[in-house]
Amino acid sequence: MDTTTRTSDSLPLMLTYVVIMAFSGMFFLFTVLSWTNAGILQQIMFTLVLVLTLYRWTGAVVLFWIQASLFFVEPATPGAVSGMGIVILSAAMVILLLCINRFRAIAAIHHHAVHALLEFLSVSRSAPNSGESGQSLSSLPRQILPGMVRVFLSVGAAALLLAMIPEKPDAPAVAALQPWGLRAIQVGLVITCLAVAIATPVGILMWRRISAPQAATYLRSVALQGIHRDLRMVVRRRLKLRRRIQKRTKKKS
């Protein structure tokens, strides 16, 4: 394993993420946008949005665009979530988001990321066996795969959770709510409980590992919260007295 990291080592990684972004983007174009007769203009605009993330925009813009497209394009499907197609499509979208965020995170350190990438492409085409790129290429799977695994686990967990909470047809009778309304509340409650159940012990563990200066600062600030009003009154009176003495001294002189 290399002992020194160089800035140029990140360029093959960025290129890899751009390629994955391109594939994910095309997958979205040819699946979601083909559900309706989406015009060429819409496809061009989505491609433009993807390209602009290389320069400036973050994944939030792309996520919003995808969600808006799904909002207008996807038909309503009553019943439980089923089928691998939804999982694969969702995974592709989350991978697209992952790649955009990762690219932007690395590009934030390189001031001219896209230019550096283009230069790197032109150099690697002329010298394909350069030592640096070879070294970086071998470590690419190690850098990319853990993220991909986390994405697939997340998508699987989300699909499983939604599959386990289907719509209840008797919701109007039981809860005086529409089935989709009741399902939204149930999913919200389950997610909240799960998040709190996992985050609480993690938070306690993290709290017990704060450093000594942090613990001292916390204790000081919490202790001061109880007595700060009284101390503030004393300090203000002292300052008032000091100003009065200074005024008298100035008058005398």
Partner: protein, 567 residues
């Protein structure tokens, strides 16, 4: 959590709710996947922050040496190599390690920041920097920014890696050569100069008539036979020429950026004169003085003496305590900036909580009060202040200004705005140092031998009209046949010129011209006052001042009163 993560969570949560309500499974599954993915990333990030980040270690070598203390030279370049390792297996990615460079260092090559994009066993980066001024340099440590791979979560920490360096002053190595061709009877030994006065030297000064009491062996028989009168040989004196340096160490000489301060000019001149004099064997002594008193190093010679002088100059150039000033917005912001680099973990709102108050009402005022309260809490932690004093910092501008100044001073900031206000340099800084200078000069003259050269390097411009405390001591020194040179470093770093001509009507240009006119008038007064006594005064820059002093020293060696004329 970064803004990017908050935006993604908001969009994903909205998308999930809308997708469930509209029965759009792909939208709901995808949005919930994003939420779960962000949660998983947060878990991984938290684990790394609390288990892997504390295992990071940074080490630094300066010019190849890793000791905690060392010596650097002003005006020279230092090469610094930083290595970051981890006690766990690897240094995890998306880590930024930034050196907190003191202001006395100027980056010349490379970057003082390293980045990790992939898990590596160690991170190394190297940079070169120029040391600007003598004094002390303290490397405190490293500012660490760690973020997850997608910039959704970020945390900042500081790793302590303290190294302290004394910076010796720069000097020009002017070594006067010894004559290699014998033009006289015998070459004087190292450190001894011919003085054209009667003494026990080996060179003939003059012939005079014999007076009873002259030793018989000094009678010049051949000349006496020619003149038919007894004549006695009178020989020259061979004496060492001592140089005494008086260096002004007062507050006014330490104001300004590193490398541009008056003390930097003076230490360069003093170091050069000391090097030149010691190279020919002349002992050099030094007195540093300020408002509180003076300290004296008697005349020393040799390499050890030269380095003792340099150490004393380094002590003189080391910043002690800045003049107290009240809090300004810029001073507070500067202190906040330093705290965000050196104590980032103490700025977390959960750790550093501020008590709720109804006032102030306006949001920007509340934000300013919140920031000031957090700063006061950090000062309470760093300087171990009792609770009443922490509350006092929130309400007392003078006290808060003092602690902000202290923090900036300890972080190696120069004495310029905002640490010290630009208008702090005034006449009151000048008057207090004249009595100690006068006392020091009188004491040195009282213990002096013959033919010493006194070089006074002091900022006397602002007290040109009130030299009464100094003039008696100068008169005494000149009356004892010592040579006195007064070098006044110019605060505008140019020779005061007579002509007035602002190039434009811009306010900074006009202020600069006004200052130049003021300095020129004061310089004229000072020059007249000191030259009237018989001393030499100059407002030269560094090289000119050195040239003037060395010419005075060479005059002292020959015993002449002026440079023209030859025996």
């Amino acid at each position: 959590m970064t803004g990017r993560a908050r935006t993604l969570i908001f969009l994903a949560a909205a998308g999930m709710v809308i997708g469930i309500l509209r029965r759009q499974n792909v939208l709901s599954v995808m949005s919930l996947s994003v939420l779960v993915w962000i949660f998983v990333e947060w878990l991984v990030f938290s684990w790394r922050v609390h288990f892997q980040l504390p295992a990071l270690r940074c080490s630094r070598t300066v010019n190849g040496r890793a000791e905690r203390d060392g010596v650097l030279w002003a005006g020279r370049t230092a090469t610094i190599q930083v290595t970051t390792t981890s006690r766990s297996r690897n240094v995890m990615p998306m880590l930024m390690v930034a050196e907190i460079l003191p202001e006395n260092l100027k980056l010349t090559d490379g970057q003082s920041t390293g980045h990790v994009f992939d898990a590596v066993t160690s991170l190394q980066f190297q940079y070169r920097c120029e040391v600007l001024a003598p004094g002390k340099i303290v490397f405190t440590g490293y500012f660490i920014r760690y973020q997850d791979l997608h910039a959704l979560f970020v945390v900042e920490r500081f790793i302590d890696c303290r190294q302290t360096f004394r910076v010796l002053p720069a000097y020009a190595d002017i070594r006067e050569g010894h004559p290699v061709i014998k033009r006289i009877n015998s070459l004087p030994q190292h450190g001894i100069h011919r003085l054209q006065r009667a003494g026990m030297g080996s060179e003939l000064l003059e012939l005079r008539e014999y007076v009873p009491g002259d030793p018989p062996k000094s009678i010049a028989w051949k000349v006496s036979a020619r003149r038919d009168v007894l004549m006695t040989r009178q020989y020259e004196t061979e004496v060492p020429v001592r140089v005494q340096l008086f260096v002004d160490n007062s507050i006014g000489t330490q104001l300004g950026g590193f490398g541009s301060r008056l003390i930097d000019q003076m230490t360069f001149v003093a170091g050069t004169v000391a090097r030149s004099s010691i190279s020919v064997g002349d002992p050099v002594g030094m007195v540093t003085f300020d408002d509180s008193g003076f300290s004296w190093i008697p005349a020393v010679g040799g390499e050890r003496g030269f380095y003792r002088i340099l150490d004393a100059l380094t002590e003189a150039a080391t910043l002690t305590k800045p003049p107290v000033q009240s809090l300004t917005i810029r001073l507070q912001n500067a202190a906040w900036l330093v705290c965000s680099k050196r104590y980032p973990e103490l700025l977390h709102p959960v750790i550093n909580q501020t008590p709720f108050t109804w006032l102030p009402v306006l949001p920007w005022n509340r934000h300013a009060r919140h920031r000031r309260t957090q700063l006061a809490s950090i000062f309470g932690q760093i300087y171990e202040l009792p609770p009443p004093e922490v509350i006092q910092l929130v309400h007392d501008d003078l006290q808060m200004g003092t602690y902000c100044q202290r923090l900036l001073h300890e972080s190696g900031w120069a004495w310029i705005d905002p640490v010290v206000s630009g208008r702090e340099r005034g006449f009151h800084h000048c008057l207090g140092k004249l009595p100690p200078l006068s006392q020091a000069l009188t004491r040195v003259v009282a213990r002096a031998k013959d033919h010493e050269v006194y070089v006074i390097l002091a900022d006397l411009l602002d007290c040109a009209q009130q030299l009464d405390a100094l003039i008696p001591a100068l008169r005494l020194a000149i009356a004892k046949h010592h040579r006195v040179v007064v070098i006044c470093p110019s605060p505008i770093f140019e020779r005061p010129v007579e002509a007035f001509g602002a190039n434009s009507l811009e306010l900074p240009e006009l202020l600069r011209e006004a200052e130049r006119i003021r300095v020129t008038a004061l310089a004229g007064q000072l020059k007249r006052a000191i030259r009237r006594l018989g001393a030499t005064v100059s407002f030269s820059g560094e090289q000119n001042a050195v040239r003037l002093i060395l010419s005075e020293v060479s005059l002292a060696r020959t015993g002449r009163t002026a440079a023209v004329g030859a025996r």
